[in-house]
Amino acid sequence: MTPSWLLDLLAAIMLVISAASAARIVARPLLAGRPWRLVQAGTDVDLANLLMGIAMAGMFTSRLTTLPSAAWEVLFGLLTAWFGYRAWADTRSVRGLAAERCTLHVVHCAAMLYMFLALGTAASSGSGGGMGGMGGSAAMSALRYPTLAGVFVLLLIGYGVWDLNQLSSRRHNFGAAGGPATSIAAPAAAAARREPVVRAFLLAPETRAGWDVVLGIAMAFMLVIMI
């Protein structure tokens, strides 16, 4: 059995990412000088990361379970559809890299949806485990469609490796991370340079790309456990 302290540690990391994403959602309108306009560019990505962090924390540790499985399925179903639409729209307008980032979020949200559906199926089929954290992961051996889980694992790791290469190359403008909705990224980054280091770090597009990497690897880990 994977040690519980390791799962707790991962759950804590997920909560940190959630908190950071929440802080981004709140801080970016303030920084842009439009505090009344809560829905800023890239809010959808931050919201998705916020929800993914909370959901995964609950999957790692049963004590942190928040919403029922069905609610998460609806949420991640909607997010998958939303980012899928954006990826499709970006591809149509030949915004290659924006589509690439949106595709990453489609994969993240679809992987979350798959996990909740698979866990729900395992629980309803009486194999135990259910949503009570991954501590009871031995009961997940009856996972349906393991090939799909394997495909998600490869995609998540592939995106993670690619993003790490891009982040360390300093050539990639992660302002594209939010796709067309990141029109605020460049001025925000410029403004952030005048802000304290912590705030600048929190609001940097690269930071969000880093969260994407961590979330992706954590998801791959969870999928492998479920197989």
């Binding site: 059995m1 394997g150 490796v161």
Partner: protein, 331 residues
């Protein structure tokens, strides 16, 4: 990684996209990635996958230590004794040591993916691979007679070390004919390729691997727990080779010899040889190695198939420097 290697563009491709976002036009990114860096990223991905797999619940069970101890069987005592000692140590400190093992592999993947740490990570991966090859795989069964190209001979993990050496981020003088030659030179790179594939031909013809029922038994033994489509594919392959184990071994050996010698041929023939190598590697990976057993749970790595594919791609003849095609530019 040297800047020259990053920008070198031997068989590199350039992807660029520019588009105006809503009123901003800030969506501008340019990525230059050469063939060797792409292969390094492939290697990083496989290390990351290994690390993730090593955290599985099955690796924290006593059976994992017993599995490692089992690799000592048939090896000379000088090789077997440290394996037994290490397996015993692992069984006493299973949680701590397995977590360390998994974390090391995760860090190797991250280190190779992050450019400033690629050299350190590749160097560490060589040391780690050699250690795992001995203590975790019993030298891949090379000395015990259990090695077969169908079960990952000469030990999947030694291929990680080989790739790390061939993809080392340095460049010798003059243009290299293929990415693997950039660090060690074309003669050494080709010699390594020759030795690897000839050794696979030798293992394919080993008495234990051409005996009646050897090949079919090896394939059918991997079907447990696999998804339906994969086990059906493997059962089909089993029925195909049943009673023809000797013929299958000979066909495999001939293919390996052709692949081994192919890198010494002119460029067009090299490409054909490498395509054959990729196809053979994928067939072995899917049909005989069951994708490393990943989909059945409890696998420690994806086995040798993806590594052999990466290796073959590292020998793909390079295009003239700085001439990415239009297709590459648009991809």
């Amino acid at each position: 990684m040297s800047e020259a290697a990053v920008q070198g563009g031997q068989a590199g491709w350039r992807a660029s996209a520019g588009a105006a976002g809503e009123g901003a036009g800030q969506l501008r990114a340019e990525t230059v990635l050469d063939a060797r860096r792409a292969l390094q990223l492939g290697l990083a991905g496989i290390w990351l996958l290994d690390g993730v797999l090593q955290y599985q619940p099955a690796m924290y069970a006593k059976a994992f230590g017993q599995m490692l101890a089992g690799t000592a069987a048939g090896n000379p005592s000088v090789i077997a004794r440290p394996i037994t000692w290490q397996a015993s140590l692992l069984s006493h400190h299973l949680v701590l040591l397995n977590t360390i093992f998994a974390t090391i592999q995760l860090l190797l993947g991250l280190g190779i993916a992050i450019r400033p740490t690629v050299r350190a990570a590749l160097a560490a991966s060589v040391a780690w691979s050699l250690a795992v090859w001995w203590f975790g795989e019993g030298l891949g069964g090379v000395l015990s007679g259990g090695a077969s190209p169908l079960n990952g001979a000469p030990g999947a993990v030694i291929l990680y070390a080989l790739l790390a050496v061939l993809l080392w981020p340095t460049d010798r003088r003059g243009p290299a004919p293929f990415p693997a030659a950039r660090a060690v030179g074309k003669h050494v790179a080709r010699a390594l390729w020759l030795v690897l594939w000839l050794s696979l031909a030798y293992f394919a013809l080993a008495p234990a691997n051409r005996a009646p029922g050897a090949v079919s038994g090896m394939i059918s033994g991997m079907t447990d727990g696999e998804p339906h489509w994969l086990s059906a594919l493997m059962k089909g392959a089993t029925s195909l080779v049943t009673g023809a184990d000797m013929v299958t071994s000979i066909v495999l050996a001939v293919a390996f010899v052709v692949i081994a010698a192919g890198v010494y041929l002119p460029a067009p023939a090299v490409r054909g040889t490498l395509v054959l190598a990729v196809v053979v590697s994928l067939v072995i990976w899917v049909v005989a190695e069951a994708l490393g057993g990943i989909l059945a749970g409890g696998a420690t790595d994806p086995n040798s198939g993806p590594l052999l594919v990466l290796l073959a791609l590292a020998y793909w003849p390079a295009r003239a420097v700085g001439t990415p095609t239009e297709k590459e530019a648009s991809s």
